[in-house]
Amino acid sequence: MATYLVKRILILIPLMFGITLITFSVIHLAPGEPVEMQVAMNPKVTKEARDRLRKFYGLDKPLHVQYLNWVGKLVRLDLGRSFSPDNRPVVDKIKERLPITLSLNIIALLLEFGLAVPIGILAATHRDTWLDKGITIFVFIGFAVPTFWLALLLMYFFGVKLNWLPISGLHSLGSDSFGLVHYLWDMAKHLLMPVLVASFGSLAGLSRYMRSSMLNVIGQDYITTARAKGLSERVVIYKHALRNALLPLITLFGFSIPGLIGGSVIFETIYAIPGMGQLFYQGVMSRDYPVVMGILVIGAMLTLIGNLIADVSYALADPRIRHG
C-alpha cells in the first residue's frame, strides 16, 4: 500500500506542472493584455502610463520570466493581488469563498450518492419493469435539463409563486441576531434550492451507472451461488451484490469533482451565493487576471486531490489493486 501511495503521489508532480503551464498559457496567449483592458475605456491614457502599468504588473518581461515568477510565487501560495479596486491578495479572497463552495458541493455530493444508489438498485432489481423504464426516462430527462433552467424554474415555483424559499444569498437580513437554531434553519432554507440544482445534473448519470454496475454484478457466478445456497433475495442483493456494485462508484466520485466545481459558477451566480464560482465569474467579467488564474489552478488542484482520494479509497476497498 505504501509503495502504491508513493507512486500515486509522484504522478501528481508532472500533472501539477502541466496545470500551471496550461493555466499560464491560456491567459497569456489569448489576444489582449490586462493593461489593454484597463485602458481601453480611457482614451486619455498616454503611452508612458501604459508602460508604467505594464511594468507594475511585470508584463514587460519576457513570457518565460513571467511564468517562472508566477510559479515561484505559487509554490509559496502567493497568487498575487487582485486587479479589482480593493487590490486584496487573491489567496485571501479564495480563502473566504472556498469553504462555502466546498461545503455546498459536499452536501450536494452526499445527496447525489444517497439518492443515486437506491435508485440504481431499484432499477436493476426491477429490470425491464415499468419502474425501470420510468427511472430510465427520468435519467434521460435529467441528462438533458440545463441546470440554469432548472434553477430558474425552482426559483419561480418555490420562491416567487409559493414564496416558500428565499431566492438569493446564504442568510436572511438580520440573521446575526437570530438564535442558533433559527440561524441554521434560515441557512438550510437558503441552501435547499442550490443544493438540489447542484446535485440534480449528476444524479441522473450516477443512478444510471449504479444500475449497470449492479446488473453486471448480479450476472456473476457468485451471485448465482449465493442464490443456489438458498439465501433470501434481500441478503443476496444487499450483502453480496451491493458491496461489489459500489466499487466503481468510488472512481466516479473523483470524476464528478470538476463538474461540480465548474457547475458552481452557474448556480452561485443565479442564487447570489458568495462562493468560488461567483468570484470566478466576477473575475472573468472584470478581467481580473490573478483571480482567474488563481481559481483555475486551485480548481484543477482540487480535482487532482479528489482523484487521489478516490484512487486511494479504491485501493483500500479492493485488494486486487492494493497488491497488484
Binding site: 441528462f143 440545463p146 440554469f148 470538476p258 463538474g259 467579467m285 481559481i295
Partner: protein, 284 residues
C-alpha cells in the same frame, strides 16, 4: 469490401430502426434541421422586430409563446435560436472530433513516448473544470459565435482522444495492419486508410452525445451573457431576460428552456441508440 460495408450498415440500420426511442430522437433532430433551414418561413414575426405596444404579453393566438421585454415575438426568437444551437453543436463537435481523432490515432499507433506525452496532456486537460476553462478563455476574446464554437471544441476533445486511442491499440495488432505494413504502406496511409475507418463507430457515438453537451454549454454561456450576444436570439440569451422578468413573465423562461431540453434529449436518445445498434453484445 464494398459488400461487407453495405451489410454492416444495413444491419446497423435495422437495429437502429427497432429502437423506438432512438427513432423519436432521430426524427426530432431531423425536424430541428428543417426548422433551422426554414426559420425565416416558419417564424410568424421578425425575431428582432421591436413592438413597444406589446411588451411582455402572455401567450395568445397572435403570439403563441408570448412576447419579451421589447415586444419581440418569443416563438420567432426560439425558432431562430435553433439555428445557433445547431451551428454550435456541429462546429464545436467537429473541432473536438478532429483533434481527438488525430491525437488518439497518433497516440495509439506510435505508442511509447509520443503516447505517454499526449496522454499526459489529456490527463492535465481533464483536471480543469471544463466550464472554468471555457469561461476563462472566452472572456479574453471578442464575444463572437465562432470563438465560442472554437473554445468549446478545443476543451472537449479529450474523451474522443481516449476512445480512439483505445480502439487504435487493438486494431494495430490485427493481421491486416501487418499485411499493410508488409506491402510497404506508409505509416500515414496505415493510420488514415486502414485504422481510421474502423474507429468510426465510437467516434459517431461520442460525436452525437457531444453535440448535446455543446448545445448545453453554449446555452449556459449565453445565459451568463458571455455567449451569443443579443440581439441575435439564442435559447440561452432569451433565458437571461427570462431570469430578469421571472416574476412577471414565466413564458420567457419556459419555452426556450423546453427547446433546449427537447433538443438535448433528442441527441442523447439518438446517440445511445447508435451505441446500442453498433454494439453486438446488445440484443437488437
Amino acid at each position: 469490401m464494398a459488400f461487407k460495408h453495405t451489410y454492416f450498415y444495413s444491419v446497423f440500420w435495422q437495429r437502429l430502426k427497432c429502437n423506438r426511442l432512438a427513432m423519436v430522437g432521430g426524427w426530432v433532430v431531423a425536424l430541428l434541421f428543417v426548422v433551422s433551414l426554414l426559420a425565416p418561413l416558419l417564424a410568424p414575426y421578425d425575431p428582432n422586430g421591436i413592438n413597444a405596444w406589446r411588451v411582455l404579453e402572455p401567450p395568445s393566438w397572435q403570439h403563441w409563446f408570448g412576447t419579451d421585454e421589447l415586444g419581440r415575438d418569443v416563438l420567432s426568437r426560439v425558432l431562430y435560436g435553433a439555428r445557433i444551437s445547431l451551428k454550435v453543436g456541429f462546429v464545436a463537435v467537429g473541432i473536438a472530433v478532429a483533434i481527438g481523432t488525430v491525437v488518439g490515432l497518433v497516440s495509439g499507433y506510435y505508442s511509447g513516448i509520443v503516447d505517454a506525452g499526449l496522454m499526459r496532456v489529456v490527463d492535465i486537460m481533464l483536471c480543469f473544470p471544463a466550464f472554468f476553462l471555457i469561461l476563462a478563455v472566452i472572456t479574453f476574446l471578442e464575444p463572437s459565435i465562432w470563438y465560442i464554437m472554437m473554445v468549446i471544441g478545443l476543451t472537449g476533445w479529450m474523451g474522443v482522444a481516449r476512445l480512439v486511442r483505445a480502439e487504435t491499440l487493438s486494431i494495430r495488432e490485427m493481421d491486416y495492419i501487418m499485411a499493410a505494413r508488409c506491402i510497404g504502406c506508409s505509416n500515414m496511409r496505415i493510420i488514415f486508410r486502414h485504422i481510421l475507418p474502423n474507429t468510426v463507430s465510437p467516434i459517431l457515438v461520442s460525436a452525437t452525445l457531444g453535440i448535446a453537451g455543446a448545445i448545453l454549454t453554449e446555452s449556459a454561456l449565453s445565459f451568463l451573457g458571455i455567449g451569443v450576444q443579443p440581439p441575435t436570439p439564442s435559447w440561452g440569451n432569451i433565458l437571461t431576460s427570462g431570469k430578469d422578468y421571472i416574476e412577471f413573465a414565466w413564458w420567457l423562461s419556459l419555452f426556450p428552456g423546453l427547446a433546449i431540453l427537447v433538443t438535448v434529449l433528442a441527441y442523447n436518445l439518438l446517440g445511445e441508440g447508435i451505441r446500442d445498434a453498433l454494439d453486438p453484445r446488445v440484443k437488437g
